[in-house]
């Protein structure tokens, strides 16, 4: 079991860019659908922005508002599928026996976002990139809680998933739309996350865990349960 406070949160999905729109969605969720939209991230200079994938743009869009005005802090980034569009582009170049784009190659790795974040924000703090399963969010929270326990005054947690290229359709069924969620976690007891044995009636969440959490935060629900395989995660707000 780990305890922490969720000081602030920020989320982005196509058409859902401000807290008010997330509140409307949380109250009566409509189906999230694939889209080509991406966040503007105008706050980054054009020369720095130009190479960012949608995945990185989404991660910047949610993380930056939570980090602005604060001292450097560790960041835990989690994505299940990572830079699928870049990886697919590279594989296609290989198949055509063409040389690989150095830009695509260097930014296709799973920890590309934390590297970019560290460079563009000038933040040398410890940063971690995780690849999780359907409950990657919860594993990232564990990682962040351990950093808090080590004495970090705050940890930024970022979950991001991009819509995969159509060819991955048969294998990737848990990304209804591109989305990113950031949490500013601080030491405290507001929230408790525990791993429990699965209950008999446990069903997998209808939506990605991070979006279910956003909904609970927007509605101020005191408790949510997320099941993934044999793991059941119990989120409780203690006050």
């Amino acid at each position: 079991m780990v305890e922490f406070n969720i000081e602030r949160w920020q989320a982005w999905a196509p058409g859902l860019e401000c807290p008010a729109s997330w509140s409307r969605w949380a109250a009566a969720p409509w189906p999230l659908e694939p889209a080509d939209a991406q966040p503007a991230v105008d706050f980054l200079p054009a020369m720095q922005r130009r190479r960012l994938s949608r995945l990185a743009r989404m991660a910047f869009a949610v993380a930056a508002p939570l980090a602005d005005g604060r001292p450097p802090m560790p960041l835990v980034y989690v994505s299940r599928h990572g830079e699928t569009p870049r990886n697919y582009a590279l594989l296609a170049e290989l198949a055509r026996e063409e040389p690989l784009s150095p830009t695509q190659f260097s930014l296709s790795v799973h920890n590309a976002f934390i590297g970019l974040w560290s460079i563009l924000r000038g933040d040398p703090s410890e940063m971690t990139a995780l690849a999780g399963e359907g409950d990657g969010l919860e594993h990232a929270v564990l990682e962040a809680a351990m950093l808090l326990a080590e004495g970090a005054p705050a940890v930024l947690l970022v979950v991001a998933e991009d819509q995969p290229p159509a060819i991955y359709g048969p294998w990737i069924d848990d990304v209804p739309c591109p989305y990113a969620v950031a949490l500013l976690l601080t030491p405290g007891q507001d929230w408790r996350l525990a791993l429990e044995p699965p209950s008999a009636d446990a069903e997998p969440s209808a939506r990605p865990h991070a979006l279910e959490l956003v909904r609970a935060l927007a509605l101020e629900h005191p408790q949510i349960r997320h099941s993934w395989k044999s793991r059941q995660w119990n989120w409780q707000r203690t006050h």
Partner: protein
């Protein structure tokens, strides 16, 4: 501006994703890297690849002169002019 020079400027813009820049913003005798346009080492690799693909010129990243050829648009144009395979 020669046609080849314009083509090279456009190639730089497209290959490196310089969305806010037009060909006339790139000054032909100003440095592409560092000061000047402000490109970096990843751009150098990407631009080398783009030149190779477009003009069929093999570029040796280790060769002493490569850095000189990529100094600015003028030097790059001269390099491409001198090395592009003859068109039948």
């Amino acid at each position: 501006m020669s046609r080849l020079q314009l083509e090279i400027k456009q190639l730089i813009i497209d290959a490196l994703g310089l969305e806010d820049i037009a060909p006339e913003d790139i000054v032909a005798d100003e440095p592409l890297f560092g000061d000047g346009l402000g490109l970096d080492s990843v751009d150098a690799l990407e631009l080398g690849l783009a030149i190779q693909k477009r003009f069929g010129i093999r570029i040796d990243a280790e060769a002493k002169d490569t850095r000189k050829h990529f100094a600015n648009v003028d030097s790059l144009t001269a390099f491409v002019e001198a090395n592009r395979p003859a068109v039948a």
